[in-house]
Amino acid sequence: MSTAEQLKDLTEQKYRYGFVTEIEEDRIPKGLSEEIIRVISEKKGEPSFMLEWRLKAYRHWLTMQEPTWANVRYPKIDYQEVVYYSAPKQKRALGSMEEVDPELRKAFGKLGIPLEEQMRLAGVAVDAVFDSVSVATTYKKKLADLGIVFCSFSEAVREHPALVEKWLGSVVPYTDNFFATLNSAVFSDGSFVYVPKGVRCPMELSTYFRINAKDTGQFERTLIVADEDAYVSYLEGCTAPQRDENQLHAAVVELVALDGAQIKYSTVQNWYPGDAEGKGGIYNFVTKRGKAMARSKLSWTQVETGSAITWKYPSCILQGDDSVGEFYSVALTNHRQQADTGTKMIHIGKNTRSTIISKGISAGRGQNTYRGLVKMMKGATGARNYSQCDSLLIGDRCGAHTFPYIEVRNPTAKVEHEATTSKISEDQLFYCKQRGIPEEDAVSMIVNGFAKQVLKELPMEFAVEAQKLLGMSLEGSVG
C-alpha cells in the first residue's frame, strides 16, 4: 500500500474518550452578565474580595477584543451562548471516594484513570475536576501534615483566603489578555497548591480535567505557590467527551516559585479534537505563566494531542537572579486540528537560563505552529537561552510553522536558536518494515523517537500514557 493510501486509512480513527456521563447537573442559564457573575460567586459562597475581583475583570473584558494574531481559524464565538457554570448536583459534602456518585466513578474508569488504583499504586494524590467543581480530593491528610495545601480552588478561597488574595493574579493579572480576563470573571473552579518553605512535596500532585456538560465552557483556574526552597511536581491530564458543538476552554494557570523553589508542571492534553472533517472539538485557549524568583526553577512539559484548536504559551518570567525556565513540548495535530503553541521566556534577572525544546508533529490536514518569544531584558547580564524547534510532517496536506521571536537588550546575554523540518522518510519506514514491524507501529515508533527528548521529561506514569496517546492520535493518519 502506498504512503498516501495508508495515510488515508489511518485518518478514520475514533476518539476513544467520547462518551457522555448522565449525572444530574446544577446549571445556570447561558450567557454572561454581572448578574451571572454574582450568581457564580454566590453559589460558591465566595468572600467579597473574590466577587470584586471577578467584576473588575468582567468590566475590563467588555473593553477588550478577541485576539486574531494566532495562526488559527475558527468561526466567531458567541460568548452569550456559553453556559458559564455547571456542577454535578451534590446534597452534601463528600467524605471519601466511596461517596462519589458511581456514575462519575465509572466515567473515570472509562478514562483509564482508576482513581483508587492510582492512589494505591502510584502514590498520586488526585484532585479530580469533573466539569467545574472539585468532587474528590485525596491524600489531603498526608499533605496537610507537611503543611502542604492541595485543594480545589473554591475550597482554597474559603479556607485560605489570605493566600489566595495574596497570589491570585500576581502572575497573570485580570487584565492580561482576552481569554485570561474572561477566565478571571467567570472561573468556576480549579486547583490550588501551596508548599511551605523548605518542604519537598513527597508525591506527584495530579488533577484530571474533563469537560462533560453540553455547551459548558470550562474555565478553571490553577494557582501553585512554592515557598522558598520548596519543591512540587504537578500533573494535569485532560480529556473531554465527544460533542458536536465546539466547546470553549479558557483556563489560567499561575505558578509562583519563590527563592530557591522548584515547580515542575506537566500536562497531557487529550481533549476531543473534532472529527476527521473538523466538526466539533474543544477550543483550548489557555494562559499559563510562572514567575521565578532568585535561584528558582520553573519547568513546563506538555504533550498536546487533543483539542480542535490549541492556543497556549506556557511562559516563564525569570525575575530572580540565577533562575531557570524550561519548556518541553510535543504538539500533535491530525485531521483538521490547529495548534498555535510555544512559550515566552522573559529574562529579567542576572544569569537566568532557559531551554526550549519543541517538537511539532503535523498529520492529515493539521496545522501546527510554534510561536515563541525569548526576551533578554536590559538587566539580564550573563543570561542564556537555547531553543530547538523541530517539526515532523506526515503527509503532504498538513502544515508546520515556526515563528520564534528573539529580542535581546543585553550584550552579555547569549541566545541560540535552531529549527528543523523533516518528514518520516521512506527509507526509515522500509527499514522498519523489513525488520517485520507493521507500518502503523513503525510510524508510531518513529514519532515517539522524535518526541523522546520531551517525553523523558514527564513523570514515569505520565510518559507511558503520553506515548500511547501519540500513537493513538496518529492512527488514521500515517504512512
Binding site: W69, M376, S391, L393, I394, G395, D396, R397, C398, G399, A400, H401, T402, F403, P404, Y405, I406, E407, V408, R409, N410, P411, T412, A413, K414, V415, E416, H417, E418, A419, T420, T421, S422, K423
Partner: protein
C-alpha cells in the same frame, strides 16, 4: 494623515510626457497609499521598527542636486568605476554616468529612456512584482518615482562586469532641533524625498551582475523599489550597497521572481542611514530555482537597521539559502525578520536561514524573527540564529598575543563581517565592500593592510 503622508501625497505630479497606462498606475497607487498610510508598530512586519520620527517630517520633492557635491560623494569610494548610471536626487546625471562597452543587446539605461525606447520590454514587468496594494512605501514609489534604472540582459547574454546604478541624494542639512511647526514654516529646509525605481529583466539563460549603490547627505527619505525578473535559467547577482548619510531614512524593497533553474544571489549591505529598512520579496516560480539571500548590517549611534525577507517556494525543487549578520553598537537597533513559505506541492524544497547578531555595547538591541511556514512534507528546512557579544576567549587569546584590545575587537568584528563579503561573486565589488566595512572599524585600516 501625518506630516510625512500629507507631504508625499501633496508631491504627486505625474510627468506630462508619459504613457497613459503609467499615469493610470500612478494615480491608483497614490489612492492606495492614501488608504494604507505609513505602517505603524501594530503592523506585524514593522513591530520592531518605529516610523514615528519619519512620520513627523514633511518631505519636499527633491531639488536639483549639485553635481559638484554629487562628484564629491562619489569620490568617497562607494561607487564603482566601469559601466554605471548615476542619478542625482532621482534624476539621471549623464555627465557622471559611463555607458558603452556593453555587449550587443544588453541595455543599461534610465527607466525614462527605456519607457520611450523599449516600452514593450518595460510595460509587462513594471509594477507586476512590486504591487502597491499591500505596501505603503511601494505604493508611494509607484505614484511618485521620477526615474531609475533599467537593465535588460537579453536571452543567453553573459556579462562579467557589474552594471551599476548609483543613486546620490543631495539634500538640505537637517533642521536644527526645533518644533515641527517651525519646520513646516520653512519650506526651503524641508527634507527631500526621492523614490528611485529599478527594473532588471534577465531573459532565458542570461547571466549578469547588477549593483545598486545609495549614497547621500542631508535630511532625506530614499524610498527605492527594485524589480528583478529572472526568466528560466537566468543567473543574476544583485548587490545593494547602502551607505547613505546619517540623516536619511532609507526604505528599499527588492521584489524578485525566478523561473525554472534560475539563480539569484541577492546581497544587501546596509551600512548607512539613520533608519534603514531593506526588504527582499522573492518568489520561486519555476522548478529548480535557487535564491541566495545575504545581508550585512552595521549600525551605531541611535540608528535602526531592519532587514526583512519573504521567500515563497511555489513549485518543487527550489533552494533558499539565507545568511544575515548584524553588528550593533551604541544604542542602535538591528532587526532581522525572515520568512520562508513553502506552498502546497512545493516538494523537495531545501531552505535554510541563518541570522546572527553581534552586540558591541550595553545598549544595543537585536530583534530577530526567523519564520518558517511549511505546507509540503518532503522538504528540508531549517533556521538557526545566535545573538551575543564578541567571544571572550578569542578576544583574550588575541590580547595575550599582544594585540591591543581595540585592534583585537576590530579584528574579530572584521572576521564576523567579512564572511558576508566573501559571498559576493564579483571581485571588484568585494574589494569595495571590504573597504567600506573596514572604514567603520576603529582599527580597520590596519586590518585591511594585514589582510
Amino acid at each position: 494623515m501625518n506630516a510625512a503622508e500629507t507631504s508625499l501625497v501633496a508631491a504627486f505630479a505625474p510627468p506630462a510626457r508619459e504613457p497613459a497606462w503609467l499615469g493610470e498606475a500612478r494615480r491608483s497607487a497614490l489612492a492606495r497609499f492614501e488608504a494604507l498610510g505609513l505602517p505603524t508598530a501594530r503592523h506585524e512586519d514593522w513591530r520592531f521598527t518605529s516610523l514615528a520620527a519619519l512620520g513627523a517630517l514633511p518631505f519636499a520633492r527633491a531639488p536639483a542636486g549639485d553635481p559638484a557635491v554629487a562628484s564629491a560623494l562619489l569620490a568617497r569610494g562607494a561607487a564603482p568605476e566601469g559601466p554605471r548610471l548615476v542619478f542625482v536626487n532621482g534624476r539621471l546625471a549623464p555627465e557622471l554616468s559611463t555607458r558603452g562597452g556593453l555587449p550587443q543587446g544588453v541595455i543599461l539605461s534610465s527607466l525614462a529612456e527605456a519607457l520611450r525606447e523599449v516600452p514593450e520590454k518595460v510595460r509587462p514587468h513594471l509594477g507586476r512584482l512590486a504591487r502597491p496594494e499591500a505596501h505603503a512605501f511601494t505604493a508611494a514609489n509607484a505614484a511618485l518615482f521620477e526615474d531609475g534604472g533599467f537593465v535588460l540582459l537579453p536571452r543567453g547574454a553573459a556579462i562579467d562586469a557589474p552594471l551599476a546604478l548609483v543613486f546620490v541624494t543631495d539634500a538640505p542639512p537637517p533642521a536644527p532641533l526645533r518644533g515641527a511647526e517651525e519646520i513646516r514654516g520653512q519650506a526651503a529646509a524641508a527634507p527631500a524625498a526621492v523614490h528611485p525605481r529599478t527594473l532588471v529583466v534577465a531573459e532565458e539563460g542570461a547571466r549578469g551582475i547588477v549593483e545598486e549603490v545609495f549614497v547621500g547627505r542631508g535630511a532625506s527619505l530614499t524610498n527605492a523599489v527594485t524589480e528583478l525578473v529572472l526568466a528560466d535559467g537566468a543567473k543574476v547577482e544583485h548587490v545593494r550597497l547602502q551607505v547613505e548619510g546619517p540623516d536619511t531614512f532609507h526604505v528599499g524593497a527588492v521584489h524578485a521572481e525566478q523561473g525554472a533553474e534560475a539563480t539569484l544571489g541577492a546581497h544587501a549591505f546596509s551600512l548607512g542611514a539613520r533608519l534603514s529598512r531593506s526588504e527582499l520579496w522573492s518568489r520561486l516560480a519555476g522548478e529548480g530555482g535557487e535564491v541566495r539571500a545575504n545581508g550585512l548590517y552595521m549600525a551605531d549611534g541611535a540608528r535602526i537597521s531592519d532587514h526583512f525577507t519573504w521567500v515563497e517556494h511555489a513549485v518543487p525543487r527550489c533552494t533558499t539559502a539565507q545568511t544575515f549578520k548584524g553588528i550593533l553598537d551604541g544604542t542602535a537597533r538591528g532587526v532581522f525578520s525572515g520568512r520562508i513559505r513553502v506552498l502546497p506541492g512545493a516538494q523537495k524544497t531545501v531552505a535554510h536561514q541563518l541570522s546572527s547578531s553581534l552586540l558591541l555595547s550595553d545598549d544595543a538591541i537585536a530583534d530577530t524573527k526567523p519564520q518558517l511556514e511549511i505546507f509540503a512534507d518532503d522538504v528540508k528546512c531549517g533556521h538557526g540564529g545566535t545573538v551575543g557579544q564578541l567571544d571572550e576567549a578569542s578576544l583574550f587569546y588575541l590580547r595575550s598575543r599582544g594585540v591591543p584590545e581595540a585592534d583585537a575587537k576590530s579584528l574579530l568584528i572584521w572576521a564576523f563581517a567579512s564572511e558576508m563579503v566573501g559571498l559576493v561573486g564579483a571581485p571588484a565589488l568585494r574589494a569595495r565592500a571590504k573597504n567600506l566595512i573596514a572604514a567603520r572599524l576603529p582599527a580597520g585600516a590596519r586590518i585591511l593592510e594585514a589582510a
